[in-house]
Each structure stands twice: as structure tokens, then as C-alpha cells.
Symmetry: C2
Subunit: 467 residues, 2 copies
Amino acid sequence: MAQGCYLPFMVDLHAATQGLSDAFGDRLLTSDSARAHYAQTEGHHSFPAPDLVVCPATISEVQDAVRMAAKAGLPIIPYGAGTSLEGNAAAVQGGLCIDLSRMTAIKEVRAEDLLCVVEPGVTREQLNSELRSTGLFFPVDPGANATLCGMASTRASGTTTVRYGSMRDNVLALKVVTADGELITAGSRARKSAAGYDLTHLFMGAEGTLGIIVEATLRLHGQPDTILAATWDFETLEGAINTVIATIQCGIPIARMELLDPSAIVACNAFSGLGLPVRPTLFLEFHGTAESTTQQLDLVRALGETEGGGELRFASETEDRNRLWKARHSALPSARALIPGAIVWTTDICVPISSLADAIGLVQREVAAAGLTAPILGHVGDGNFHTLFVLPPGDHEAWAKAKTINEMMIHFALSVGGTCTGEHGIGIGKRQSLLREHGTESLATMRRIKDALDPRGIMNPGKIFLD
Amino acid sequence: MAQGCYLPFMVDLHAATQGLSDAFGDRLLTSDSARAHYAQTEGHHSFPAPDLVVCPATISEVQDAVRMAAKAGLPIIPYGAGTSLEGNAAAVQGGLCIDLSRMTAIKEVRAEDLLCVVEPGVTREQLNSELRSTGLFFPVDPGANATLCGMASTRASGTTTVRYGSMRDNVLALKVVTADGELITAGSRARKSAAGYDLTHLFMGAEGTLGIIVEATLRLHGQPDTILAATWDFETLEGAINTVIATIQCGIPIARMELLDPSAIVACNAFSGLGLPVRPTLFLEFHGTAESTTQQLDLVRALGETEGGGELRFASETEDRNRLWKARHSALPSARALIPGAIVWTTDICVPISSLADAIGLVQREVAAAGLTAPILGHVGDGNFHTLFVLPPGDHEAWAKAKTINEMMIHFALSVGGTCTGEHGIGIGKRQSLLREHGTESLATMRRIKDALDPRGIMNPGKIFLD
């Protein structure tokens, strides 16, 4: 059995394997081939496989697994759908991966309270599929079909965050298994509470380094009466971005406002057959009544027409709309297909809205100057965008250039008071950036919390903090 | 100089007084009369005055004061406007009160990014008054003219939370002075971030027990084009509440939805001269365009007409509207005036919306059976309401009955998955309830965080945790 790169613990792997095998039988995975699956995510980071993988079916089994791993001094890595991008679930020190994907029950839907309760393996597509007949939906949509508890753990957001908020705004309560295997609850079913420390938000974004989220109570929203979606191409990237900035500054409650630069359009046209003009393009969606969506559209159209906006192409039928958003959500494989055999390094920053044009302009110039293939797209209504560096694995020069541009992006974001990651999290990729963003004292505060809740450092080690 | 009730520290009050006096001159308050002011808040709790009060003018001076108090082992109690209701700023162990009310600068308003930065003494009325000409406003409105940083510290909300969210949703970043006098930043100017532990939300609702919030970056919103306000009386309390429940379940983006029971109407009529019929009444406000507010109103009207809703009385002019909300915000003094010399004990719970009618019905029956005077009102669109027990100071029987009803309210809230406080916080009044709400293990987690960030326990001791 291969071991992880290093284990700074007194680890008794043999004893742990025996105990876990007794408890979990064939739901303990130890073969090279089974473990290899957990060394892959959608991101560009490469990392070793965990030593062991266990697939619990209940919260109680998660607690058992944590207790056994803790007793053996084994690192613990929670794993959902493997869709994270910054190595957030990387077994960098080996250890026990706890694969939560088999816990897929939607335990409760309380339509009258606009909430539901899900197990950690439930994905957003599964939930929304099961909600369809209720007239409700869960809005947070990062593109990938991530697990909802994984999305909570990464403090994810997505295309509809401009209107409905991120996971931060749509999780009411959590159940969490702590580093010593205890089960705690955070939050309640009330829409708001002033009762004690906000553990719900502390565990959200902690990426499994403080405990494992094993249940989430989520806010649901009513499906809008009318959905109006359209694509809108612009003469210049600046014109498109100025339209976004003006829309946000005017407080128009647009439901989705995505930007794709010409390179991203090329990728989506090729991969998803969209047939759009190769120009900077906004993907828009409006939610509301027939009247209010038309009203919102008219306001946005007026803002964009003075910025060189071309023809609005409406996706009137549900099918057209689904095709449009599926294409947008396939941006990652679309980019990957631009260069055969390439790896895509997706990075994201988020800036105050008034700095968005400068931020994207800077990246576009640098990408062009470096001669890289790197579509730019994102949830620009939030000031959040992604650069997808498409890199041949062996092209060290291209990787070095991408690294420089990523650093420049982060530097720019921090210089205008923004953040080094809007939604992908820190993982292993942005630990240095986190320190630069928050400073030594803030990081020391985070570290004190980590040490208090996980004194042996076994919960998803190597993430968030530079050791 | 009087001392607080007990000091479990090795305290060198003399040395601290000398050092603080040298540093702050006449901004160190030591007289009985000056200190007495800090033993009063708007709540019903009584507690001793702090030993010393200091009035810093800068963040650096807050740090100095904290360092000097920490060195002397003196408890530190941050103080804003003194509007908290659960003894959140009570000097229960004596110590140094840090009065932040002189730090009243609005440091920055960035209209183009819909944000502003305020010092800890800035109140919500001051901010909104200064914002008036910008077309923007800060929506969170707890009624009292609290400081914004105090509101953050208590995780406050208010009448507009049903539409705009609570402090939880409207604070982007904080500066916090820690227990050892360091200054840390939490959050950023980006609308969202996945960068590390969410310290912003951890300090919000910590009530000064983890550090002192000395600066807040707040989200601003565009002033609505049209504001439509009205009062609406109902035959029965149940009819009014059912209208609220249906409005929320239909997803109508109402901006304010307040309930006042007949006793609250009596109080407001007498105190503010409203002249409203003495019946269960909703105070409503709609924000939007002329069309959308009318549309929302029509939807709500249709829901309420089948529930025994009477005539809608519109407050069309800005002046009428201001008078209406001023009356609502004067609920506390209005209740106090019902019985000369009375003290008002205001308690609040928050429940999932479908349990609201049962919750309020229970309280109303119990108040009637106990023969108490206790108006019921609140932000019912959030499932949050208040009972204002109006109690003669010496009437021990009435106080005991109020205590029993308060316990029943909390018991009911927890039985339906709600919370023991929607917005007033834990302070000294709800520590036992917090334990019941979250359980031993969650409280132990909160305590570990407290011990990690404030190992000597000097930050606002005696709050949140039962020692």
C-alpha cells in the first residue's frame, strides 16, 4: 500500500486499517485503483492518493471513521463530488479519505418553511430535480454538479449569486462531525438568529479543516413565474463590462449576468455548438413576473445600448435556456478541448464592482502579451471572474507565464480591496495569497481557531495554512 | 471607587487607573456619576457600573486601552449606544468599559461600489442622514438608534430584514481589536469571498467576547424609487398572521411586514397619537418602482382579504410614513408608558414561518391567563416577534409569571427548530437558553474558540457562556 508524501504524526496505519475493515467491510477501499480515483479532481493540482478510503452510510459511521482515524493519528480528508479546483480535497499527507457521496438522502423538504435538509452526498442537480414538483428550487449554482455540503464547505457561489446570494446566504444550519468524532449542530431553522457564535459560517469555507459537514439545512426559493434568458454580444469587452457595472449600480435584480470573452465564446461554440458571434458576450437571465422581467430587461438594454451592445438573442423555450446554461457550465471541458491533452488551470478573483473593467482588462492584456490560450469568464455581476489557463502539461514556459498572471490577478484584487478567491477557496493553491490578503495577525487568529478545534491537526491537513 | 460584584482575576486596578489616566486624561471617567451611566441600558437587567470608563478617539487608542487593561487583568466591556436588551454590555464583573461613541467618522462612502466604512460610534440614523443625498441607504433597522458596529456585534436585524437581510448579510468587512490589543481585519470589499475562515461572521454575534469591533465596511442599497406604506387591521390575530405566512410563502419581496397586537396598538396610539383601531394590525412597506410596488400590494391584499383584513390605510406622504415608523420604533417607551413607573422586559424568539401563528397564539393565551400587560409585536415576516412584559418593579408575582412565559416561548421556539433570540443576542439573559438550543457539544466548541482567542477571559466576561 502506497503512503502519502509525509506523515508528521505517530501513525498506526495497520491498526487503523484493521479497525476500519472490521467496521466497514468492503466499504473500506484499499486497492491502488480504487484509491487513485481520489487523487483526481477537476482542478490542475496533482497530489497523491489517500492511504485508505471509507464510504460511510450514516452520520454515526462518519463519527466511527473519524474516531478510528484520530486514534491512529491518521489525517482525515472529507470528499464529496471531487469538483473542487484548488486541491481542497487533496490527500497531501496521505491518510483516510471519507467519501460522503453514498449519503444521498434528501431527509426533509418543508415547503411551508422554504427549507430542506440534505445528507452530504446530495448534489445540487439531484436536489433541484427532486424539488421540481414543489414549485421551489435551490439557487446556488457553481456550474459543476457539486455536493451541497461540499459547496458549503468551500463557501461556494455561482451564476445566480448576484440575485440569490452564495452558500453563505442560503445555509440555515449544519451538522458537523468534529475532530474528536463528536456531532455538533450549528444554526437553526429560523431565518435569522442572534444566539451565540456563528458556527454555521465558521464551518462554511473551512474546507473540512475544522470538521466534516454531514448535514445541511438549506433555504429554498420559489421558482419564478417567468424566466427570460438571452445572450448579448458587444463591440468591446469594456462595453460589456460597463453594462454589468451600471446594472449592479442601478440595483436591477438580475438573476444571472455572466461574461464570456471571445476566447471563451470560441471554446463554447466548438464544444457546445452555440454558434454565437465571436465577440465579448453577456449571458443574462431575469426572474420574476412577465411584467417585471420585461421591465428589468428594458432597463438593462437601455444601459447596454450606449455601450455598443448588439442584438439580444433570446432563449425563449426552456430547452434553449437549458442548452445555453449547459454550455456556460461546460466552460471547463470546453476550454480543455481547445488544446488536445491540455490541463486547465482555473483561477478566480473577486473585486469591488467599480474595479472590474480594470481587472479584466489587465488580465486580457497580459494573456495576449504572453501568447497564452486563456478564456476569461465569470459571474461578473458579483465582481467575480475566472481565467482558464489552457496549458500543455510539459510546457514549463507557459505554466510559468500562467503563474505570473495568476499572481498579477491576485495582486490587483488585493490592491483594490478585493479577494484572492471569490468562490474556489484556498485549498493548497492559494495559501500564500490568503496570508497576503488577511495579514499575519488575522491568519494567527484563524490558526488559533484551528488549533483549538483540531489540536492534533488531523482534519484535512495542508489546506488553508502554510505550515 | 466602587468595584464590580466580583473579579476572578489578579487585578491591579490602581496601576491600570494610573496608566489610563496618563494616556487618556479627562477621557478616563472614574466618578460615580459618570460611571453610573454605563450601568443603564434599554433592557430590564440591572447590573453594576464598570470600575472605569475610557473614551478613545482612534483605533490605536482602543488598542492602548485594551493592552493596559489586559496587563492589569481588568475585564473589558465595549460600549456603543447602550441600546442592547439582554445586558450585552453589562459590567457584571466590573472592569474597564471602552465607550466607542466618540468615534463617529464615516470614513468613506464609495457609491460606485455600494459600500461605506464607519467608525464604531456611527449610528444607523447618522449614516442614513449622511447618505441621503447619494441615493443610497443602509437598510438594517432595529428600531433603536444603535451604533452600526454594536449592531454587528449583536448580529442585529430589524424591520427591513425580511427584504434586505440582517447585519449578517450587510457587513462586508470588519476591523477588530483582539484580547491582546492587536488589530486584525476580517473580510474584504468584494461582495463574496471563499478566502479562509469567515472571521467576519464569527465576530458578528460574539457580543464583544472575542474582540472589539472598531470599524465596519457595510453594503449599501439604492433608495427605492417608490415607497408604499400602509397599516392594515384584521378581525383576528390569526388572520393577520396567516396573511404574513402566505406573503412569505409566495415569495413577495415585501420590504417591511410588522405585526402589532391590540395591546401594542393601544400603547402606540397613546404614546404616538396614531389613532388606529384597536385590532391586530400589520404595518406594511413596499419598495420598488411605481408598478412593482402596486403589484406587490395587490398580491398581499388578495391574500389578506380572505383572512379578515379590513381597510388599508396608506401613509402616502413621506411625513406620514416617517410618523408611522417612528411610532413603531417607539414601541418600547410606548409600552413603558402603559404602567407608570414600570420596567419593560423585552424578549424575542424566531421560529420557522409555518409555526408563527402557534407561537404567537400560545403567548397571547398565556399573557391573558396570567393577567399581565404585555404587547406582542415584531418582524413577523422573518418569523421573529417580541413580547414586551410591562412590569411594576416590586411586583414579584408579575415578574415570576413573565419569567414562566418567557421560558415557554423559548421552549416552543426550540421545539419547532427555531431560536431563543432572533436579534437581541444572548448577553446575560439567555445563557441557559443558548445551551438548550445548541447543546453541550456545540457550546463546548464555542467555548474552545473563546478560550483560544481570549485565554484570560477578559473580553466582556459573563456573557454568552454560563460559567
